[in-house]
């Protein structure tokens, strides 16, 4: 295996920060290229007029998912050294819900708000300020919120582990369902015009 490079000692912390910057630039580039820095375009997702958010996000997930599977299969990447975000059932469902309301209300998400700001959109600034306020409030009220925050930990849990369906089959299902979903999205968008 030769990857993940950092985990196998290919370079140190300082280099990793430069890499973070480069990866961030590429991230921001593609987000803006897709129009994700524009709240009006993003909001279209929730009014079923412009499903770009879904198309971009899900294409990204499927691309990376396939890449991970095949690189691991080829022995190039060692998945056991890749950090998988742990699952916390209640906080993630509750947080997802609150986040979703905020998303449609604000029209941007934490990553895209950066793109909005750097392309001159003042609503991006307002959103970022709101996020700082929200995080600060959460931190200050942490003593009260702690029980919810730390409830229902499930550790590292992936769909194959949960469902008992093997990893390759899950990959195939996600890919096929994804393409079908994209067809559906195109149909929905055309219906609206």
């Amino acid at each position: 295996m030769s990857a993940p490079l950092f985990e196998l000692g290919a370079f140190g912390e300082s280099t990793s920060l430069i890499i973070a910057l480069i990866i961030g630039v590429a991230f921001g580039w593609f987000l803006e290229q897709g129009g994700m820095g524009n709240a009006r375009k993003l909001a279209g997702q929730f009014y079923l007029t412009d499903l770009t958010v879904f198309k971009i996000m899900f294409s990204a997930v499927i691309t990376a998912m396939l890449g991970l599977f095949w690189l691991h299969r080829a022995g190039v990447l060692e998945l056991s050294l890749v950090y998988v975000p742990p699952t916390w059932i209640l906080p993630q469902v509750l947080g997802g819900f609150v986040f979703g309301v905020g998303f449609v209300m604000g029209g941007l998400c934490p990553g895209t708000s950066c793109v909005a700001i750097s392309t001159g959109r003042k609503d991006g600034l307002a959103l970022l300020a709101g996020m700082f306020a929200g995080i600060l409030a959460f931190g200050e009220l942490f003593a009260l919120l702690r029980r919810v925050y730390e409830a229902t930990p499930a550790g590292t849990l992936t769909l194959p582990q949960l469902t008992g369906i093997s990893y390759p089959v899950v990959v195939a299902l996600v890919a096929v369902v994804g393409v079908a979903a994209f067809r559906l999205a195109e149909w929905i968008e055309q219906r609206g015009t």
Binding site: F30, A43, F46, I56, M105, G106, L128, L136, L162
Partner: protein
């Protein structure tokens, strides 16, 4: 006299998505981790609180987590987010999409939109911290890794978005 350059059309969303996916994949291959955004903001908030009230920050169970380690701002996500700012700027510069404005529909006022943006941001700040990450972190990173919690997050976030959408429609009218 030359006309102002018309903004170029956006990239095909599937291509942009594949591009993003490859960036995400690069992060996995090079760093062994995915992307994120809200974590960077939490670091900044924690650093700020630490500056203003250090004993309070260290004693707080939430902020102290982000203050562990060398310096909260010398953090991978913070550098990544700086890159996102830069990348977005460069892309818009090249495509002629830089505009100092507030995005909203014709019937909405600037101030109203800004208030909504602030409120939405506050909710997202709380939601993202609760869920440990946001769309970049959970949806993209956790999604590609097939993490159950991440998929739960995406599904509930989108569901909530559709449910709450009628409330905020007037921004885009």
């Amino acid at each position: 006299m030359s006309a102002p350059r018309a903004p170029r059309p956006y990239m095909n969303p599937y291509l942009a998505g594949v591009g993003l996916g490859l960036v995400l994949l690069a992060a996995f291959v090079v760093m062994g981790r995915g992307l994120g955004a809200s974590g960077a903001y939490a670091s900044v908030v924690a650093a700020g609180v630490d500056r203003v009230a250090p004993t309070h920050a260290q004693a707080n169970g939430f902020f102290s987590h982000y203050l562990a380690g060398e310096a909260p701002l010398k953090d991978w996500l913070v550098f990544e987010i700086l890159g996102v700012f830069l990348g977005g700027f460069l892309s818009a510069l090249v495509a002629g999409r830089l505009r100092w404005t507030v995005e909203h529909g014709p019937a909405m006022s600037d101030r109203g939109r800004l208030l909504y943006a602030f409120g939405g941001g506050a909710l997202m700040g709380v939601g993202a911290v609760l869920a440990r990450r946001c769309t970049s972190g959970q949806a993209l990173t956790g999604g590609a890794l097939l993490s159950v919690g991440s998929w739960l997050f995406i599904v509930t976030a989108f569901a909530a978005g559709y449910l709450a959408a009628p409330l905020f429609r007037k921004q885009w009218r």
